[in-house]
């Protein structure tokens, strides 16, 4: 897992770079939150980050975590997902327009590009008369590894 560590470092750095670029201060707590976020292999909640922070004795208040997540979300580096369960979670992702596929078993996510959705959005505008400003698409299913696991379970192996 050497690669994922390197990726995490890069991800944390780009979170911090974005702070700087947008004129926000790269404070100690924010750096800690950035590191935590970058280390998440799947989607996560504010409460989970808080627990991890506590476990690692990082001195970050609950409120600060929410504030940092909000800020990173505003900067487009983190996105808040609405899960079909009604709950929600965050994922770190590219600041470009895209959508997510979310594994309903292990919470792993992947980004997906537009794939013609913009055209569909335009068509919706045409049909409904609405002036479409944004759209949001989320796909839920099983990631390859969970799909394999379920298949194994199904054949009561």
């Amino acid at each position: 897992m050497r690669l994922s560590i390197i990726c995490a470092v890069i991800a944390a750095a780009s979170l911090l770079a974005a702070l700087d670029r947008s004129g926000h201060r790269a404070t100690e707590p924010r750096r800690a939150v950035a590191t935590l976020i970058a280390a998440q292999p799947r989607h996560f909640t504010a409460a989970e980050l808080a627990a991890q922070a506590r476990a690692q004795r990082l001195p970050i208040g609950r409120a600060t975590i929410f504030r940092a997540l909000d800020l990173f979300a505003e900067l487009g580096l983190v996105e808040r997902l609405e899960l079909p369960t009604g709950g929600h979670a965050y994922v770190a992702c590219e600041p470009t327009h895209h959508h997510h596929v979310i594994c309903s078993r292990c919470s792993r996510t992947a980004d997906v590009p537009d794939l013609g959705l913009a055209e569909i959005a335009r068509e919706v505008g045409r049909r409904t008369g609405y002036r479409i400003e944004t759209h949001r698409l989320d796909l839920f299913g099983l990631c390859p590894s969970c799909a394999a696991t379920e298949a194994r379970e199904a054949s009561h192996g």
Copy 2:
């Protein structure tokens, strides 16, 4: 607005019919909630329904409203929307698979059919290896009448 009244009656009736069909009891409080739901011209929150119920002196507890909304949502006659603001609201809608366009100004919603989304979902599955089970698309923008209003405002009329 004669038409909307008729529609509301029909809508309330179909909510009740669905209860019956699914073996749930058409109780007084549920009938009241169904009527309230059918009368909403836009998306609404549980709190709003509760307030309206109170205003009309309908004897429905807050908890019952939540329970009824959950039930109708399970039956597919009401859908819970996740608004871009992070809040959420409900809309009455057809129980078939579809998506919503939501006016970000007046909250009016319209249903939209699949329009090729299913194919996009398949493509996402192909590209990511996920076994896609469901997807959710929401479009936000201005409804025709709000778009007109904004245009008028913009020309500082």
